[in-house]
Amino acid sequence: MRSNRHQQFLIPLLAVLLGMIAGSIVMLVSGYNPVAGFSSLIYGAFGDAYYIGETIRQTTPYILTGLAVAFAFRTGLFNIGVEGQLIVGWLAAVWVGVSFDLPKIIHLPLAILAAAAAGALWGLIPGVLKAYVKVHEVIITIMMNYIALHVTNAIIRSVLSDEGFKSEPIKQSASLQSEFLEAMTYHSTMHYGILIAIAAAFVMWFLLERTTKGFELRAVGFNQHASQYAGMNVRANIILAMVISGAFAGVAGAMEGLGTFGNISTKAGFTGLGFDGIAVALIGGNNAFGILLSALLFGALKVGALEMPSGAGVPTELVDIIIALIIFFVASSYMIRWLLSRGQKGAE
C-alpha cells in the first residue's frame, strides 16, 4: 500500500486534471474548440509581462483567503465566512487609508493591521458561539457574510461618502501600489501585496508547525476530548483559531483596498474571493506552501479566463464550471482513493 503522504499530492493533482478534462468536454459539447480555449486561457494568464502581472495580482488575495480557510480546516473548523471577513477587512483598510495623514512607514502597516483586526473581529463572533454555545460555525459564518455585506454598504454610503456608491481614494501613504512593479509589467495592476501574502504563508507554516500554540490548535481540531484531558483550554483555542483565520481573511481585503482598487465601492453581491479560498485551500492540501501553488493556479484560471471570449469565443464562466468541478472531485476524494486502490490491485 502506498503511503498517505503520496496520496496527499496525488488527489489534488488528479482533481485538477479531472476538472480540466470535464471543462474540455463541456467546451466540446457546446461546440467550442477546447485546444483553442485552453491556449487562450494560458496566453491570458502568462502570455506576456502584463498578463503575468495581472495573474500575480489575482493570486495575492487568493493566497490569503486560502490561508484563512486552511487555517480553520487545520484546527477542525470550517470558516465559510472568509468572504465577509474579507469585506470588513477591505472596509477597515480603506477607512484608515482615507482618514489619516501619516508617514508611510506607520500608515500602511496601520491600515493592514486595521484590516486584520476587522477580519479577526468577524471571526471572533462565530468562534465564541462555537466555543461556548456549540453552534456550528458554518451557519454563523454564512450569516455573518451577509451582515458584513449590508453593513459595509451602509457605512460606505453614510460615512465614507455622501450617499455615494464609493469611498474617496486612499492616501498615497497607505497605498500598496507600486510604479516599479507596474512599469515592469506593462502597467498591470500588480502591487506589493504579493510580498505580504507570501510572508503570511510563512507565518501560517511557522505558527502551526513550529510553535507550541500551533500544536495545541491542531490538537484541539483533531480531538477536543483528548486535548481537554491533556490540559489544553479547548474553548480558548477554538476562539483563537477563528480569530487568526479571520485576520488572514481581513488582510486579503486590505490587498484589494490598498493595492488593487485603492478605494471601496458598494457591492450588490459578494466578491467571490472568499468562497474561491475554499477551493484554494482544498487543492493546496491545507498546507501553506501548497496554497501558494494552488492560489497561483486559481489566479491564472481567473485572469486567463478573461482572454477566452476574444481568443476562442468561449464565455469566461467556463472557468467557474471548472473550479466547481475541481471542488467536487476533491470533496469526493473517497471516490479517487477507491479508484486508486482498484488500480493498484489490478497492477499487482
Partner: protein, 319 residues
C-alpha cells in the same frame, strides 16, 4: 396614512417575497431532516430560476398562458436532477457535505451563465412576456378587513407555498415515509438495523430539496425578477437556509420564518413610504434575518437544534 393602509402596503408584499423562500426552505427541511446538510440551496435556486426563465422564453409562443406553469414543472425536474450531484457526492462518495454544497453553488452559477451567454450571446436574458396573473381568492377575499390584506391581488404561487408547508408537515410527521426520513437523520445506524435503506432515503430527500429549491428559484425569477442574470438569485438560497434554521428544521416553523423574512425584505423596500419607518436605516431591515438566525442559534430565541446526524456520511458497519 393610517395603520390599515400601512398593513395593506406591507403584508401583500411580504407574502409576495416570502413564497420563493418558503419553497426553498421546505426543500432544506427535507434534506437536513434526512441528515444531509444542504448549503447548495442557493445554487439550486439559481438553476431553477435559469430553467424557469429559459423555458418561458423558449416556449411562450407554443403554450401561451400555460407557459409559466410548465416552466415551474421544468424547474422542478431540472432542480431535482441537478441536486443528484450533491446526493452522489455526499451520500455515495462520503464528501464533506458543506464542501459539496459550495461546489453546487459555484457550478449552478457558472453553468447557467455559461449557457445564457451561449444561447443569447449576452450575460442577461430578455424579460419574459408571459407571467402569472394576480388573483383574488374567491369567497375569502370578500371577508372584511383580512380579505383585502391576505386574499386579494396576490399570486396563486404564494398560496401554493403556504399549503405545501402544511403538506410537508403532514408528510414528515404523520406518514411512515416521514418517520423513516427523520430516523435516518437522527440515528442512521438504528434506522439501518430496522431495515430502512439509509442511502436511498437520503437520495430521495436531497432530490426533494432540489425540486423545491428549483421551484423556489423559478417562482422568484418568474414573479419578481422576470429575467435571468448573475444577480437574479443573490443570497435568497442562504436566506431560505436561515429560515429553515430559524424555523427549527420544522416545515411550519420554516414557513413562519420565511414569511417573517419576507416581511423584513418588504419593509426594506416599501419602508421609505411609511411615516414611522422612514427614519429607520434600511440596513437594519436587511440584516435582520441573519442577526435573528444567529440569535436563535445562540439560544436567545429558544434553542434551535439540528438533526443529530446532519453533516455526517453514514458508513455501514462503522460505530
Amino acid at each position: 396614512m393610517n395603520v390599515y393602509d400601512v398593513l395593506q402596503t406591507i403584508i401583500p408584499t411580504a407574502i409576495f417575497f416570502a413564497a420563493p423562500l418558503i419553497f426553498t426552505a421546505l426543500g432544506g427541511v427535507f434534506s437536513e431532516r434526512s441528515g444531509v446538510v444542504n448549503i447548495g440551496l442557493e445554487g439550486l435556486m439559481v438553476i431553477g430560476a435559469f430553467t424557469g426563465i429559459v423555458f418561458n422564453l423558449t416556449f411562450a409562443d407554443q403554450f401561451g398562458s400555460l407557459t409559466p406553469w410548465l416552466a415551474l414543472v421544468a424547474a422542478i425536474v431540472v432542480g431535482a436532477l441537478f441536486s443528484l450531484l450533491h446526493a452522489v457526492a455526499s451520500v455515495t462518495f462520503r464528501a464533506d457535505q458543506v464542501v459539496s454544497g459550495v461546489a453546487i453553488n459555484f457550478l449552478a452559477l457558472g453553468l447557467s451563465l455559461f449557457l445564457v451567454k451561449k444561447m443569447y450571446g449576452k450575460g442577461q436574458t430578455d424579460q419574459i412576456q408571459v407571467g402569472f396573473d394576480k388573483i383574488d381568492v374567491p369567497v375569502l377575499s370578500d371577508i372584511p378587513v383580512i380579505g383585502p390584506l391576505l386574499f386579494s391581488n396576490a399570486y396563486v404561487t404564494s398560496y401554493i407555498a403556504i399549503i405545501l408547508a402544511f403538506v410537508s408537515w403532514y408528510i414528515i410527521y404523520k406518514t411512515p415515509f416521514g418517520l423513516r426520513l427523520r430516523a435516518v437523520g437522527e440515528h442512521p445506524m438504528a434506522a439501518d438495523t430496522m431495515g430502512i435503506h439509509v442511502a436511498q432515503m437520503r437520495y430521495i430527500a436531497v432530490m426533494i430539496s432540489g425540486a423545491l429549491g428549483g421551484l423556489g428559484g423559478a417562482v422568484y425569477a418568474t414573479i419578481i425578477s422576470r429575467d435571468f442574470s448573475h444577480a437574479t438569485i443573490s443570497g435568497h438560497g442562504f436566506m431560505a437556509l436561515a429560515a429553515m434554521i430559524f424555523g427549527k428544521w420544522h416545515p411550519i416553523g420554516a414557513m413562519g420564518a420565511a414569511l417573517f423574512f419576507g416581511l423584513a425584505q418588504s419593509l426594506s423596500i416599501v419602508g421609505q413610504t411609511i411615516p414611522f419607518l422612514k427614519n429607520v436605516p434600511t440596513v437594519y431591515l436587511l440584516i435582520a434575518p441573519y442577526v435573528l438566525t444567529i440569535l436563535a442559534l445562540a439560544g436567545f430565541i429558544g434553542r434551535a437544534e439540528a438533526p443529530k446526524a446532519a453533516g455526517t456520511p453514514y458508513v455501514k458497519g462503522k460505530r
